[in-house]
């Protein structure tokens, strides 16, 4: 007899919920009559994300101690559970926003299947406890996203986005898996917890593997200089999908990177903290300076997400429990604000029938007062103003970097924040203080199409963004419980 592993169903539950949702909405996409296809597929996707969120919350509650389950393929711990909750939350909001996105009838169900599938992959990725499940989760989420980007193949930009993401993403996955092969060669194990201490800390193969794995993660988190795909992909993909990628993909890439580095490479800490600092500074410089020059809203947000990768990398640079807490906390308002701001971009696009730019945003704040307020709340959160979760998150990240002795990084971060005001406030200025062009005023006469799903998502995103400022303590407690399970 071969000894078969015991299955811990609760650990698998979040990703299984999304896998079931994928299958259900894919079947709905071909078996349900055309008229109800969108609603049924959408419902399954929403139910999948809601189920995944609930399952992850239960998992969080019932995993006070970190341990490997299912033949040590997955971690059952609060860190993975909190990551799953962030992914499921972002996915839930994205599903709401995605409902009203225009699409041809014959692919109206598939996008929800792919969205659910990407979330399932992300959760498996976040829970993985060995390099093989890690790669499996990564490919699961990436392949879903490649297709999701290129789904509206009538638009050339969508094909461009999908193609670029496929090539660069495939390339980065190859680098990561090559790195994993080096690590395996040096240590003889794929198990994350066993890698540490198996080889001398200066082993050349191990260091090479570490570097390549780090590069693979940097691609997925779109940290400069591995960011070049980001603007084109975010611009070309369907707007809700861009929000999902900014809020969820980046989050899991950074969380898993921190887990792998701290669990498997604790002996090389001096190496990867310096590398993360270099990535952070490059991302901040490239992201902020390039964002200043953008006129297209989605492209600007793509560069803003690159600069945020820089800020979030402070947590990895700090390599401390405080840094982990800061990262987990900051991803909550950041994820909400990302989905929210791309939702508003989608709203504007649907009204105008053309890409949102800083120029055609003129008058948006007067035409739609509530959406205007929501937009500047998200911008202020990105910039790190008080009364939004972005403020607390940034303070925490800066404190973590300072505590670990990275004072010069703090200065770079402060300057970057100042520069970022230039483009975040430019959006606020554009929606209130620019005269509305004459022909756009004519469009005002038409009754505004009300998308209740999208409004709900934006409202929820505002609640989370602002709420995380006022409800800091409960969220920090969650993050603290999760962070205490990493060996930092």
């Amino acid at each position: 007899m071969i000894r078969t592993p015991a299955i811990d169903w609760l650990t698998l539950a979040p990703s299984l919920a999304l896998l079931a949702a994928t299958i259900a909405s894919l079947m709905a996409a071909v078996l349900v009559p055309e008229r109800r296809r969108r609603n049924v597929s959408w419902f399954f996707c929403l139910a999948g994300y809601a189920g995944a969120f609930a399952a992850a919350a239960i998992l969080f509650d019932r995993s006070p101690h970190s341990r490997g389950v299912i033949a040590n393929a997955l971690f059952r711990d609060r860190y993975g559970a909190l990551a799953a909750m962030i992914v499921a939350g972002v996915g839930l909001l994205t599903t709401l926003v995605y409902y009203g996105e225009r699409s041809t009838v014959d692919r109206v169900g598939e996008r929800f299947a792919l969205l659910a599938s990407a979330g399932g992959g992300m959760i498996l990725f976040a829970q993985s406890a060995n390099l093989l499940t890690l790669f499996l989760g990564l490919e699961w989420l990436s392949i879903s996203l490649y297709v999701l980007c290129a789904l509206e193949r009538e638009r050339p930009e969508a094909i461009e986005a999908g193609f670029k993401y496929l090539i660069v993403g495939g390339f980065s996955s190859a680098i990561l898996v090559f790195g994993a092969a080096f690590v395996y060669g040096a240590t003889g194990t794929l198990n994350l917890a066993q890698i540490a201490g198996k080889a001398p800390s200066g082993d050349l193969f191990l260091i090479t593997g570490l570097a390549m794995i780090l590069v693979g993660f940097a691609f997925k988190a779109s940290a400069a200089p591995f960011h070049t795909w980001t603007p084109d992909v975010y611009q070309g993909a369907a707007t809700p999908v861009s929000g999902f990628m900014a809020g969820a993909t980046k989050a899991v890439a950074l969380l898993v990177a921190l887990r792998v580095l701290s669990v498997s490479f604790s002996a090389q800490e001096h190496l990867w903290t310096s590398a993360a600092a270099a990535l952070a500074v490059t991302s901040l410089v490239v992201g902020n300076l390039a964002a200043l020059a953008q006129r297209d809203l989605k492209r600007m947000l793509a560069y803003s997400s690159i600069s945020h990768a820089g800020f979030l990398l402070f947590a990895i640079t700090a390599a401390s429990s405080l840094g982990t807490r800061a990262l987990l906390y900051y991803l909550i308002p950041y994820g909400a604000a990302s989905v929210g701001v791309f939702a508003l971009a989608a709203l504007h696009e649907r009204e105008l029938g053309e890409p949102a730019t800083l120029d055609n945003l003129a008058g948006f704040g007067w035409r739609r007062p509530l959406s205007g307020i929501a937009l500047w709340i998200f911008m202020l959160s990105f910039a790190g103003f008080p009364l939004t979760g972005g403020f607390v998150g940034k303070v925490y990240l800066f404190a973590a970097a300072y505590r670990s002795g990275w004072t010069w990084l703090l200065i770079v971060g402060a300057v970057a924040t100042l520069v970022s005001l230039g483009y975040y406030l430019a959006v606020v200025r554009a929606i209130y203080m620019r005269p509305e062009p004459g022909e756009k005023a004519a469009a005002k006469e038409e009754p505004p199409l009300l998308d209740r799903m999208l409004s709900t998502a934006v409202f929820a995103a505002v609640i989370v963004t602002v709420g995380s400022f006022f409800a800091v303590q409960p969220l920090i407690d969650l993050a603290k419980h999760a962070a205490s399970q990493l060996p930092l």
């Binding site: 007899m1 071969i2 078969t4 299958i23 894919l26 079947m27 996409a29 071909v30 078996l31």
Partner: protein, 120 residues
Amino acid sequence: MLRNWLPFLIYGLFASGITGLMLFISFALSTRARTKPAQQGLPFESGVSTGAPTRQRFTIGFYLTAMLFILFDIEIVFLYPLAIVLDKLAWFGFSELVVFVGLLAVAYVYVWRKGALEWE
């Protein structure tokens, strides 16, 4: 030490042998005319094509079907190793097999209902 590599040598011989054999057979059994084709004897006239294009193009439907075939074919290959150890894996293996085939069935239903199996 070197003895450990013997299976690789045999494997390598097989790999190159089969490839070589395939190349050889396609030459040996090909139905090309032994003599030069008549067209090669014709004088060259610039700009005027002297015969039908020799390159054949396949319809896109061929690639779609071929791709789907390869996809499902590869999945079936995975069943062989599982079948060999199925009695040792007992019910665990069997349930894994059912899940795997179930997922394949979902994909099959999708492909079928999407009309990818219709030949136009």
